[in-house]
Symmetry: C2
Subunit: 344 residues, 2 copies
DNA sequence: AAGGCCAATCGAAGCGCTTCGAGACCGGGC
DNA sequence: GCCCGGTCTCGAAGCGCTTCGATTGGCCTT
């Protein structure tokens, strides 16, 4: 394996000159640059990452911490990871994958061994212990998700409160007055995971503002859970004409259950989902939904991190504005009439 | 940040002694060892990963290459990743995440810059160009998946041929004679992805051996695709009494479509799925299925890699034996009688 | 013609760790 | 009393790179 010294010898220059050709940190004459470049190619030279990290004290590596649980919003996490990796590569960074079972220890380990220059955290709780670890470790970080107190932290997330509001708004325009919000699993709320809480608040606030009769029901990802929750809703609140669904896993079961209960979508019941567009396109009828731009979250997180590391910016909370796409799962509420546009 | 030299000074020993305490490569007296340990803790010392990599020429990092497409068997990939990361950590390794858009370049880059000591490849094609890149780069690797010619390579995979056979066997025992295999998307077969081809072969061979009338239909992940494929099967082969389904994404649509077509599962049509158990548990009725042990694949891949790196073993193909779990989606074929056990 | 400035290049000093050869010390065998 | 073999420790030499003066010419000023 060729080293920088080999290249320097071959090109007849000093090692430092090769280094400057590579980094561009000092000017090098066109002639020399070309000669060095040729030697690099001829010798098939690749700088040694470890040596570089040691000499420059920058590893050119980001750490991405993902939740361990293989059950929760998996496709979303995968998309985030893909966004992070591809964007990081554009900045010359590689990505280290950590799971949450190492918890704050992982953060400390990676930071204090200089394995990574910065960290991206996901699955942020309202009061997240890892934030403290990040502060103490003195390593740059970006959160995908927003904790209760984001002061001084860089965060990226979908504006879930606004997403919730959009759902309610869409439904009220269609004349729905009795709505059920089928949310994430109980445990998510107990852990105070930010996005779930914010969605709920957004929906509640919007419902209150518009006089919508709203009920919130957490729901696990299984068929049985969906069946139980739906049965209870239909029994206790038979006038329910619309559902907002956040737990993407139960959307297919929910739709067959409704069909079996003799309630067709969207004639009897409208459904708005909070899920990736791809999923919304896969059902029949297609789902009116607020998109979950997972890959963009990853991309934006890296952008933010780069700005933070290079320009010293920090403390920015980026909320991506959600968009509601009307598809086939929502319709005018039964027994109501279309409102004239001017009345909106 | 404390360095090894700081620790040595604090403990009153030579730097090399500290190093030996850390690595255990030479014996150190109990007294010294303790003194050094105390200093390490007091100074909160963590070895610098880059310096270590440079001096020892081992990075203690594995690279995991995942497909970029966010659509294909995503939960499976995520599980594999989790298995890889947690197992790698047990061996003191971190995991670098690469996407396939870098392709063979990524392999070369990581290998020749010594960023990683070994590579785990996923989504293996029968003739996979990256295998050549791995050979040329001279880096240890393990494939999750098996190419056409695995000579000299370490591979881990589910025994898909056997999995296919199990499905057919289960169905024939229940008296089914006309079976449709709804497979992965067309493109997968065109790319000759190993697992899809092997499953198909296993099913075909088993069907031929038992005189089962089999048809294979590739199918995309969308509702429409599922509807089209199912309609065609029911039209062309109305006697079909059983389905084997590999593309997990279309299982929910398939089940509602059957219901809408007035064919109940399992009374009129039996379904066997090739999918993670978790998914098989989420439908109603629950699916008789062959499990996809994704996390185990990741774990085994790392085990294999460690054995390869430490003991110099190589050329092993580990096929995990599949298991079929009978749940509610399969039943005796209509118009047939239960076979006495002795006739099996 | 001397002085000054800039661009281009060099050499040396690390970065923090591992590893190897060698020294110091101790007890046992002759 | 001396040599031998172990055990424990030390010092020095790198690993391959970056970075910071310092040096060298060439060209423009004055």
């Amino acid at each position: 394996m060729a080293t920088l010294a080999d290249v320097a010898r071959h090109a007849g220059v000093a090692a430092s000159t090769v280094s400057y050709v590579l980094s561009g940190k000092r000017s090098v004459s066109e002639a020399t640059r070309r000669r060095v470049q040729r030697s690099i190619e001829l010798l098939n030279y690749h700088p040694h990452a470890g040596a570089r990290a040691l000499a420059s004290s920058r590893a050119n590596v980001l750490a991405l911490i993902v939740p361990l649980r293989g059950d929760l919003y998996v496709p979303v996490m995968m998309q985030i990871a893909i966004g992070v990796v591809t964007t990081a590569r554009q900045f010359g960074y590689d990505v280290l994958l950590l799971t949450n079972d190492e918890g704050s220890d992982g953060i400390r380990r990676v930071a204090s061994s200089s394995r990574a220059d910065a960290i991206i955290l996901t699955d942020i709780g309202m009061e997240d212990g890892r934030i403290d670890a990040v502060r103490k470790a003195g390593i740059d970080a970006v959160l995908i998700g927003v904790p209760a107190d984001p002061a001084g932290l860089d965060c990226v997330d979908l504006d879930f409160a606004e997403a919730g509001r959009l759902c309610v708004e869409h439904l009220t325009r269609l004349g729905h007055r009795t709505v059920a919000f089928i949310g994430e699993a109980e445990g998510i709320y107990r852990r105070h995971v930010g996005f779930a809480e914010r969605t709920l608040r957004g929906i509640r606030a919007a419902a209150a503002a518009r006089g919508v009769d709203l009920v919130h029901r957490p729901c696990e990802g299984s068929y049985e859970a969906a069946a139980g929750v739906l049965a209870r809703i239909l029994e206790e609140r038979p006038h329910t004409t619309a559902l907002i669904v956040q737990n993407e896993a139960i959307i297919p079961p929910l739709m067959s259950l409704l069909r079996m209960a003799g309630r067709t979508v969207p004639e009897h019941v409208s459904i708005v989902a909070l899920c990736p567009d791809q999923l919304a396109e896969q059902t029949s009828p297609r789902l009116t939904s607020v998109n979950m731009p997972a890959q963009e979250l990853g991309t934006r997180a890296v952008d933010l991190l780069m700005r933070r590391m290079n320009d010293g910016d920090s403390g920015e909370v980026v909320l991506i504005p959600p968009g509601l796409t009307v598809r086939g799962s929502t319709a005018q509420a039964p027994g109501t009439e279309e409102q004239p546009v001017s009345a909106l």
